[in-house]
Assembly symmetry: C2
DNA sequence: ACCTGAACACCGTTCAAGT
DNA sequence: ACCTGAACACCGTTCAAGT
């Protein structure tokens, strides 16, 4: 191996993504990234002033690789649908990012996604302002859906009661609610079988279509 | 002070909330909670098997105190609107919870909110399934809006360029995007002045109204 | 320039021991 | 029962020093 060429930023980002892939974001440390590169833990600080900067760079690279921007030949509503699902799946496949979504800053790649979104919707007849608001609304749904998905997944990992037919969520719900309202339980159970993204996103897309019809008039 | 009565669970939750209020969720530790109660750090483990359990209990108490369930005499759409805004404001006032929203499990109080929501919408004419889906959609919007809000706030805390008229978000956007698309910048700037909750929530409420009209037919 | 070693001030958690 | 003290195996970060 070409052992001693000086390491660049990208090597650290690459190593960080590998560590995250193996043990999750929350267990990434400056030390284990360094160990993976066979380098002193403190070498990382020459390229990233703090752990947060390394994480932000890794998230940016993760978003780039997720490659969520759909082909341009789709109709706008299908385009938005596919973008949202792509983001949902990418984040869902690496749930350990989720706790950081609220605190990390996004960079170049996020701007590119925003830009593509606004151009797509403007060409479909939305105003720039509507398009940008729609973008934030879609991101909200995606981020929210991934968060809920993560917190439900955490529940499912809890020790499953032997022979229980109901999900842990429903079980807790039943423990915490008056017996008068038991009728909600089966509906809760079936609703939890949906992917979270299928709950908010269709409603949002419907609203955007009405808005477009309104604007076109 | 009645110093030596044995401490109960609630005393620890109370102390945890005080610590969080002062230094944020991310700096809460078993040790500083214990110090606040003038007790050995290890006493906490007699009541909570792990830090995560203490945090979950604290979040539950936080939600209870936020008291977000609106009065019942409001119309369903205003009721939903007020609930969502209440949750948004509560979480927004204590942004340090946000990074944990995806990973913490919710309990009794969350079930009570879900229950109130479903009952309210069912009485307005929604089916139980629609109501429950709407609940998850609303939660998605709230959680997503708070996450975005937090990540924009993190940006605003970065060193503000002297004399800059544009927000850090817009500045980064401009750095990362072709000059051809500069026209988006002013719209981005004005969109960022909205509260995040005002972007997704109105669209969602509009969609729910159409759905209700559909169902009533 | 780029990396190292040792150190500081913290963590969560375990475990045997106290009262 | 409830709490303590000491210890283990980690953290992020700083800083003077090496090459």
């Amino acid at each position: 191996m070409a052992a001693k060429s000086p390491l660049n930023r990208h090597a650290f980002v690459e190593a960080a993504l590998e560590v995250i892939d193996e043990v999750g974001v929350d267990k990434l440390s400056m030390r284990n990234v360094a160990v993976r590169l066979d380098v002193s833990p403190m070498a990382v600080y020459k390229h990233f002033p703090a752990k947060e900067d390394l994480l932000a760079a890794a998230l940016e690279e993760f978003i780039t690789r997720a490659n969520v921007i759909p082909e341009d030949d789709l109709q706008w509503d299908r385009w938005v649908n596919q973008l949202a699902r792509g983001m949902y799946e990418a984040l869902g496949s690496e749930l350990s990012w989720v706790p950081l979504l609220g605190s990390l800053r996004l960079g170049t790649q996020s701007a590119a996604v925003a830009d593509a979104f606004v151009r797509k919707l403007c060409r479909a007849g939305f105003t720039t302002e509507q398009a940008l608001q729609a973008f934030f609304a879609v991101i909200q749904i995606v981020v929210g859906a991934v968060c809920l998905c993560a917190s439900l997944a955490a529940r499912r990992d809890e020790v499953a009661h032997a022979g229980a037919d109901l999900s842990p969520v429903t079980q807790d719900y039943l423990e915490n609610i008056d017996s008068e309202r038991l009728r909600i339980a089966p509906v809760l159970e079936s609703t939890l079988r949906y992917e979270q993204i299928d709950l908010g996103l269709p409603l949002l897309l419907g609203a955007l279509k009405s808005q477009l019809a309104e604007t076109a008039k």
